[in-house]
């Protein structure tokens, strides 16, 4: 046994992120740090109105301002666009998709761009943008998603004569039996507020034209590959002339999974002017110019027998698209369409989504995308059903859990693996529910101002986007595969090229762990390259918790190919049959001849020197694998929140948060915990803090970090995390994806806890987020 074989594996170990040293010491490279010689600054002049026609626009004053190079209106640039801005997911054949362009002369939301200023400096461009004079004709604006389909509602797009974008249905009601005939039926209506993503790095693009018509676009994006394809298509450029680079990217949460007006403007203007053009979003600009999330009205029904066996679930959703369809806007509800039964075995299943246009910033993927929206209504309604049945809320969940895996569920898909009972049991072990209930009873009896509440959320989700055939079947324009290349270099170091595009996830670390284990080399010998279309030729980027279960799995298949080729080389050089070679941790040994062995590194040198390779074999030790997953992956788990509600002020504070997640096998527990922490925080924030709101004219009231409340560590307890592990049988790593679980699970746990704290006062519902005033009013109304 060689020394290498003794070495413990990296996979499963809490390896510190190799990315962090540079990022934490301020030596990362973000787009805004880049300033090639001659770079011009771009600022977009935006509509202050939610819906208004440009009667006339005067650019003279702006053009005459100091440092200004050029100013363009929508009309000036119309010939630059070969296509309207892309939507890749026409969810139905008759979906309405009014074309939109990077600049407009009819603003459909506050922040819609009407002119663009290019100047030598950012301050000059900003000053000049204030000089763009627009004579506006304000039009009626439709803001409220819940009123979009009412008679006489204002129309976001009057030409369409309706605000309806599409209706999409999935109905697998096996019995055809009317839901209302069930013994117990609970229907609840929920509004899930508009959320505004706040990546720590705002969006930024820098377009650098080359001398021969080529152009490099540096972008703070999650999707360099998709961006290249769609920028090229929209501008009529050859893909070969466009290189997209995503350097260090400071978070995305879905908000950088899009093709934005500014991306297209920067490229178009860099080509026109022959100089680099840079645009960096201002924080307050982020609130209107970057996509929003959620804004769902959902009516959700659970039907059950008197003994608590759930027989039907039904969701009717009205989802705000915003003013236009961005890259995957209409598909967001569909990402949750198959999980409206949650982790429960519910045979009869029906969902109906109605997408509607509103005069608001477009919505699109925001962490969880479709699945938090489903889980919230399921878990809130599970509590309501338990109360209706007079059953314990935990026991109702346990009774209805899917218990056999793989499981084909009511919506028609198959869950790969899981153990929801184990997660729940582990949660209860950590929670000490009896003590909490005793403390709660004591406080209720004492009439204490601060009441205690415990809330549960048992969930599952589908991620690892996605099997290409299924994406095709649901009309998504592209596939869901991922590509990886591994090059074993002659000196023993390993280059890994991945099509995933990390923006905080730590792929450089996790990918090196996976490859080093498989190739039996030192992690430090593995370099991971990503985020540059000239290096990583093919990929479908990072979103939907796909990177590890698709991109990470592609790595393992590429490593298999490298090992297979090396095996042929080793067999040739040792003059044995390849079947007689045993491979372990970087070394091939000859069965029965323990002294005869050759390392992978030696094979790499032999492949490079090419002095003595098998006949017909190409030199070099390099392989590429493209992996298309056969199924989604299906994490699940059980979360509980403990809150204290000040019944006099309405202030709800989280006291404890316990999360048991099952994300399959774990490559790096530190990174997984980090993802869970961040995800939970976003879910808690949805329940207690964040709420994007417009006034009735469509003016965003929460347009900065002062009024749109993103919590800090000071408002949150330390989380108590643990895991159960049900490896996914559909991939050799057994992994499932962890990017979104916390966000999916947390909001209903917290809301259920808040309601539990005040349920004895007669409160049955509180609009999310549970602001102090809402909680106080709910208590006053229950008293009245």
């Amino acid at each position: 046994v060689s020394a290498a074989a003794e070495k413990p594996g990296y996979v499963g170990a809490p390896v510190k992120r190799r990315e962090d040293r540079a990022l934490l010491t301020g030596r990362g490279t973000y787009v805004d740090n880049m300033a090639p010689a001659g770079t011009l600054s771009m600022v977009v002049a935006r509509s202050p109105y939610a819906h208004a026609r440009v009667k006339s626009i005067s650019l003279d004053a702006a053009r005459g301002a100091e440092g200004v190079v050029a100013v363009f209106s929508a009309a000036d640039l119309q010939d630059d666009w070969k296509a309207a801005m892309p939507c890749a997911w026409p969810v139905t054949e008759d979906m309405k998709n009014p074309p939109h362009y990077p600049l407009t002369d009819v603003a459909r939301y506050q922040g819609d761009g009407v002119a663009v200023v290019i100047a030598e400096t950012r301050a000059q461009a900003k000053d000049a943008a204030e000089l763009v004079e627009v004579d506006w004709e304000p039009l009626d604006a439709l803001v409220d998603v819940g009123k979009a389909l009412e008679d006489g509602a204002a129309l976001a797009h009057p030409d369409l004569e309706t605000n309806e974008c599409y209706v999409w249905r999935l109905d697998t009601d096996a019995t055809g039996q009317a839901i209302d005939d069930a013994e117990v039926v609970v229907t609840r209506r929920y509004y899930q507020p508009r959320l505004i993503p706040n990546a720590i790095e705002p969006r930024a693009v820098l377009a650098v034209p080359g001398p021969a018509g080529e152009l490099t676009l540096y972008a703070a994006t999650q999707i360099p590959h998709i961006l290249r394809l769609l920028v090229a298509a929209t501008l009529g450029m050859s893909e070969t002339k466009l290189r997209v680079v995503a350097p260090d990217v400071g978070g995305g949460f879905g908000s950088k999974l899009d093709v934005y007006a500014e991306d297209l403007l920067a490229v178009a203007l860099a080509r026109r002017l022959g100089r680099p053009v840079k645009w960096t979003e201002e924080r307050s600009e982020n609130y209107v110019a970057t996509i929003h999330g959620r804004d769902f009205v959902t009516e959700y029904t659970l039907a059950a027998t008197k003994d608590g066996t759930i027989t039907h679930c039904r969701a009717r959703v009205t989802a705000a698209m915003g003013a236009y369809l961005q890259l995957v806007t209409p598909g967001i509800p569909l990402l949750g369409a198959w999980i409206y039964a949650g982790p429960y075995a519910i045979p009869n299943y029906s969902v109906e989504f109605t997408g509607v246009f509103t005069n608001t910033t477009p919505t699109d993927a925001y962490r969880g995308a479709g699945r938090p929206e489903a889980t919230y209504v399921i878990e809130r309604t599970m509590d309501a059903l338990a109360d209706e049945l007079g059953m314990d809320r935990v026991e109702l969940r346990r009774k209805n859990f899917i218990k056999e895996f793989p499981a084909t569920i009511g919506s028609g898909l198959t869950i790969d693996s899981g153990d929801y009972v184990a997660s729940l049991d582990k949660l209860l072990d950590h929670l000490d529910l009896d003590s909490l209930r005793a403390e709660q009873s004591k406080r209720r009896e004492n009439g204490a101002a601060k009441q205690l509440g415990v809330g549960f959320s048992t969930y599952n989700e589908m991620c690892g986007l996605a099997p290409s055939r299924i994406l095709g079947a649901i009309r998504y324009a592209a596939g869901g595969w991922e590509q990886a290349t591994i090059r074993y270099l002659p000196t023993g170091s390993v280059q890994v090229i991945t099509g995933t595009s990390p923006h905080g996830q730590g792929h450089e670390t996790s990918w090196a762990q996976i490859v080093a284990d498989q190739l039996g080399c030192d992690m430090d010998a593995v370099e991971v390259l990503h985020g540059d279309t000239s290096v990583s030729h093919a990929g479908l980027d990072t979103y939907g918790s796909r990177s590890l279960p698709v991109g990470g799995v592609a790595l393992t298949y590429a490593a298999d190919k490298v090992i297979d080729k090396a095996r042929q080389i080793v067999a040739h050089q040792l003059e044995v049959s390849s079947d007689d070679l045993e491979y372990a941790k970087g070394t091939f040994a000859v069965k029965g001849s323990p002294d005869k062995e050759m390392t992978l590194a030696a094979a790499a040198w032999a492949a490079f020197a090419a002095h003595d390779l098998p006949d017909g074999m190409e030199p070099g030790l390099e392989a590429t694998a493209t992996y298309d997953p056969p199924n989604f992956s299906w994490p699940g788990g059980a979360h509980a929140a403990v809150v204290e509600v000040d019944t006099e002020t309405g202030d709800a504070r989280l006291v404890r948060y316990v999360a048991i997640d099952d994300v399959g096998s774990v490559v790096n527990p530190l990174i997984v915990d980090g993802q869970v922490h961040g995800g939970i925080t976003q879910g808690i924030s949805t329940a207690l803090f964040e709420e994007g709101s417009y006034d009735e004219t469509g003016s965003l009231e929460t347009a900065n970090l002062l009024t749109y409340l993103v919590p800090s560590a000071a408002e949150l307890p330390s989380y108590e995390l643990d895991r159960t592990e049900s490896p996914s049988p559909t991939n050799p790593l057994g992994v499932k994806g962890v990017g979104e679980t916390g966000t999916i699970a947390a909001a209903p746990a917290v809301m259920n806890a808040v309601l539990d704290a005040v349920s004895h006062l007669g409160v049955k519902d509180i609009q999310m987020p549970a602001t102090p005033e809402r909680v106080w009013r709910a208590i006053q109304e229950a008293k009245a």
Binding site: L706, L709, W776, R777
Partner: protein
């Protein structure tokens, strides 16, 4: 994040600052810690033609025992005020409240004079100064004048300071050891301005309540005194009963943090709790 254009001057002394302000055409602004002004500049809400930076006038950073009162220089940072031993001994409500402002970054840059001169009714310290009956010292071309806190705050972001005056000092009374005090605020996030805040002082004379003073944060255009509640408490009412009167004369705003009605309710709850704490109940 890009402010409109402005001129920038560094003051070498208070008199120099006064001279620069006078030459600034009326809309020059003093820059101290910058934690209210700079965000307003970046959002282009504030567009002064000139900034006069007084951040280097170290002679304005001090806390001294002046016999009957404690004098605090206007450029003293909140963190310094929070950690000051003289204040902890003689006027602990000031040092405690300074420790409640914003977050550590704000407290290490923001100054006492800045938060008072900014005149934001949602800030913590103005209401405390009002409850204490503090005196504020302004210096202008004609020399110094002393402005009682009751006359200093004149409106939202408005104070009694003339455009070319510099706030140089706050004088807070030494409290008797028997004086009970409390500062409480309700906010959603630690770094937020108070939705409502209440400063309460209860003065005792031989063990019985001789009087009370209550300062209210974010209950009107300026920090307010809860006179009716003070009088009720001095007249023998319970903290709970007195607190119900705290909203008399208040005109609480409605905004993203809460409606006017909710703020009024919150002020009553907070006032009761603050009075109970000040009374040592």
């Amino acid at each position: 994040v890009i402010p409109a254009r402005f001129d920038y001057d560094v003051a070498e002394s208070v008199d120099h600052a006064i001279e620069l302000l006078g030459a600034g055409g009326g809309d020059a602004k003093l820059l101290a810690g910058g934690h209210s002004l700079v965000p307003a500049l970046k959002l282009r809400i504030a567009r002064p033609s000139k900034l006069v930076d007084i951040g280097r006038l170290s002679e304005l950073s001090y806390v001294k025992d002046d016999g009957t009162h404690v004098a605090i220089g206007a450029l003293t940072r909140h963190a310094t005020v929070a950690a000051d031993g003289t204040l902890a001994e003689h006027c602990p409500i000031v040092s405690f409240t300074a420790g409640q402002i914003g977050d550590p970054q704000v407290r290490h840059r923001g100054t006492l004079g800045g938060t008072l001169a900014h005149g934001d009714p949602a800030s913590d310290m103005p209401a405390v100064m009002l409850a204490l009956g503090a005196e504020l010292v302004a210096r202008g071309k004609g020399g110094e004048r002393v402005i009682p806190a009751t006359e200093f705050f004149t409106g939202v972001f408005e104070t009694a300071l003339a455009p070319d005056e510099v706030l140089v000092e706050a004088r807070v009374p030494k409290l008797a050891a028997s004086t009970g005090w409390s500062y409480m605020k309700a906010n959603r996030r630690a770094q937020d301005w108070a939705t409502v805040g209440v400063a309460a002082l209860v003065h005792r004379d031989n063990g019985s309540i001789a009087g009370a003073s209550i300062g209210l944060v974010n209950m009107g255009a300026t920090p307010l005194r809860g006179k009716a509640a003070e009088d009720a408490l001095a007249g023998g009412a319970s903290a709970a009963d007195a607190a119900m009167l705290v909203t008399e004369g208040a005109e609480p705003p409605s905004d993203f943090a809460g409606s006017s009605e909710y703020r009024a309710h919150l002020a009553q709850v907070m006032a009761r709790r603050a009075l109970e704490q000040a009374l040592g109940d």
